[in-house]
């Protein structure tokens, strides 16, 4: 039983070491090690989740030989276990389905490096989820940024490198603000571990000293991590990065990377600053306003795109907006809705990016709107996956998107001033979502035009070699989406339990 306490640490270090080993291997072996590692990490995370749910406890794990106020710690509760399990699952599915494309998009001598990046990213995501130490959080945020940057530019063309550099500049601005925020916090509290820092924060609040630096700290940390996760005014890098990377990388980037930062932010909000103290500072109102603008502007941007992958990328901006709006509501229910939306978005976006990549293959790599006409008949499974993903994003009942929208709407009830804004934004954003997603769905299921060969419209002459694993992954992701939609009460119970432990 107590052996499970080691598992969070094992999973982080396992991911890191498999990255180091893979750098000396060829692509095939790097792939095997990566998938094996992800499988083991999934098992370990599931054990952590099971253990924390069964015993109803949380645990901290001391790293090194220095006890609490000095050393470094890992902490795991229900929320951490659940998020780690879920993120690993999405990571496995994304890597599996993009496998063929990875080998064709990346130079043959550099394929192993892609898997090194996946390993590093997994380890940094796990560390961001589990860490109980602010500076460790910062270090792994940086590792995650570098791994992300590598993933964007691994397709060696001008687009990828330019997208990577734009991402990196924005990301460094975010990291800089986050770092100075942590330094200031360390300056006024004298602690880096979350639990002692929390006690000092309570002390600061009760004496009223250092209130201005404290406000600055909250602002810097929120804006820094907001920039890194692509909150609205700082989202300019999102369409390029998600639009040009290899499909597996796009799926990983949009569904996991930005979410890792949000989880870290929520963790800092609850475990260092304290949600009540946070509520009094009105920083949440700023996040709420940015979130609402993002929901609408992201969707408007998406309508203007002709390339389906850029459209999905712009839609990510809107979905990040939903998450920040939920956090900005400042209630427990809003936070649960946000966490649920993180899950929804991760499951759905991975599905959309992967199915669009397969649809592109069915039209020989063309990416514009008109070439995709009727492609849903030629690659039926990818078309169906895209359909389910779109319906989920729009908010079709039984799918996860519907549930998260319902949670947002009911969470807004608790806040009288923000209620109408939330509802209005939800209505507008859902309408816009429906406009561009359903337009695309209608387009890919369009009937043949006059003069076009009917057989060529409905059937594909040669099946692409990548559709083999794609089937399994598509069905798994659809299943995950349905699970989140139909058994949302179990998931929400877990999230609530996790939040109450914070």
């Amino acid at each position: 039983m107590s052996f499970i306490v080691n598992f969070p640490f094992f999973s982080i270090i396992l991911a890191m070491f498999s990255g180091i080993i893979s750098s000396a291997l060829n692509g095939k072996w790097a792939k095997r090690i990566c998938i094996l590692m992800l499988g083991i990490v999934l098992g370990l995370s599931a054990c952590v989740l099971y253990y924390t749910v069964e015993t109803g406890t949380q645990f901290t794990y001391m790293m090194g030989h220095f006890p609490a106020p000095w050393g470094n710690e890992i902490r795991a509760g229900v929320l951490e276990g659940f998020m780690a399990t879920f993120f690993t699952l999405i990571m496995i599915l994304s890597v599996l389905s993009g496998l063929g494309r990875i080998f064709s998009d990346v130079e043959p001598t550099k394929v192993n490096l892609f898997f090194v990046l996946v390993d590093m990213m997994m380890s940094s995501l796990l560390a961001m989820i589990y860490t109980n130490d602010l500076f460790t959080g910062y270090v792994f945020v940086e590792i995650n940024t570098i791994a992300t940057c590598g993933m964007i530019m691994i397709r060696q063309n001008g687009h990828g490198i330019l997208a990577a550099i734009r991402y990196f500049v924005m990301s460094q601005i975010g990291s800089g603000l986050f770092l100075i925020g942590i330094s200031l916090l360390y300056d006024i509290t004298g602690q880096l571990l979350m639990v002692p820092a929390r006690e000092e924060v309570e002390h600061i609040i009760s004496t009223g000293a250092y209130m201005t630096p404290f406000l600055l700290v909250i602002g810097l940390i929120s804006i820094g991590l907001g920039i890194k996760s692509g909150l609205y005014p700082f989202h300019s890098w999102i369409p390029d990065t998600y639009g040009y990377a290899t499909p597996a990388a796009s799926a990983i980037l949009s569904s996991l990377v930005s979410k890792g930062y949000i989880i870290l932010l929520i963790k800092i909000f609850y475990r260092v600053i304290g949600f009540k103290n946070l509520f009094q500072t009105h920083i949440l109102d700023i996040l709420f306003v940015f979130g609402i603008i993002a929901m609408i502007m992201g969707s408007i941007d998406a309508i203007r795109q002709r390339d389906a992958r850029r459209m999905i990328a712009c839609s990510s901006v809107a979905q990040i907006g939903y998450i920040y709006m939920g956090i900005g509501l400042g209630t427990e229910a809003g936070m649960v809705a946000s966490l649920f939306h993180i899950l929804t978005h991760a499951a759905t976006k991975a599905m959309l990016f992967l199915s669009v990549a397969s649809l592109y293959e069915a039209v020989e790599g063309k990416t514009d709107y008109d070439s995709l006409r009727g492609v849903g008949y030629r690659n039926k499974l990818a078309g169906f996956t895209f359909l389910v993903g779109s319906l989920s994003m729009v908010g079709f009942p039984m799918l996860s998107g519907f549930v998260s929208k319902a949670f947002f709407a009911s969470a807004a009830l608790e806040s009288s001033t923000k209620m109408y804004f939330t509802w209005a934004a939800l209505v507008i954003s859902t309408t816009l979502n429906a406009t561009y997603f359903l337009r695309m769905v209608v387009n890919i299921y369009a009937l043949p035009q006059e003069g076009e060969s009917v057989r060529g419209h409905y059937f594909l002459e040669e099946r692409s070699p990548y559709t083999k694993t794609n089937g399994f992954v598509s069905i798994a992701l659809i299943g995950l989406n349905l699970f989140l939609g139909m058994f949302s009460n179990h998931v929400v119970d877990l999230l609530m339990k996790g939040l109450s432990m914070f």
Partner: protein, 126 residues
């Protein structure tokens, strides 16, 4: 006011440097200057941490002359953070320089706006 300034000279310098670096990183068109800005920004944070971590009259945390009283030494953690931060900043600078070299070889310019314009042109071609 003057007392406040003179007693917080390092912190103020650090904040001004942070502002300069931040603005350069965000607004400068030249990629090399962006990298310089990034380094100034990071260095400002290290200056801030070091200044805050040092207490006048105390020694570096290395056992000297057999004095074991902790109050004679400064806290080693801020210095440790600075060292970690330097490692992070070195690796991100290296990555950004490598990317800049790649872009320069391809587009023969360091101006990011020109690169974006070239890229748009490539985009419009089939």
């Amino acid at each position: 006011m003057m007392v406040l300034i003179s007693s917080h000279l390092e912190e103020m310098t650090a904040m001004i440097l942070f502002g300069i670096g931040f603005t350069m990183l965000l607004l400068h068109k030249n990629l090399i200057k962006k990298i310089l800005g990034m380094n100034i920004m990071d260095t400002a944070v290290y200056l801030f941490l070091t200044a805050k971590g040092y207490i006048y009259g105390r020694m570096v945390p290395i056992l000297t002359n057999g004095i074991t009283d902790a109050s004679a030494y400064t806290n080693p953690i801020p210095d440790g953070l600075v060292l970690t931060g330097i490692v992070v900043s070195v690796s991100s600078t290296a990555l950004m320089l490598a990317l800049t070299i790649r872009l320069y070889i391809r587009y023969r310019t360091l101006d990011i706006d020109k690169i974006v314009m070239e890229w748009r042109k490539e985009e419009e071609l089939p």
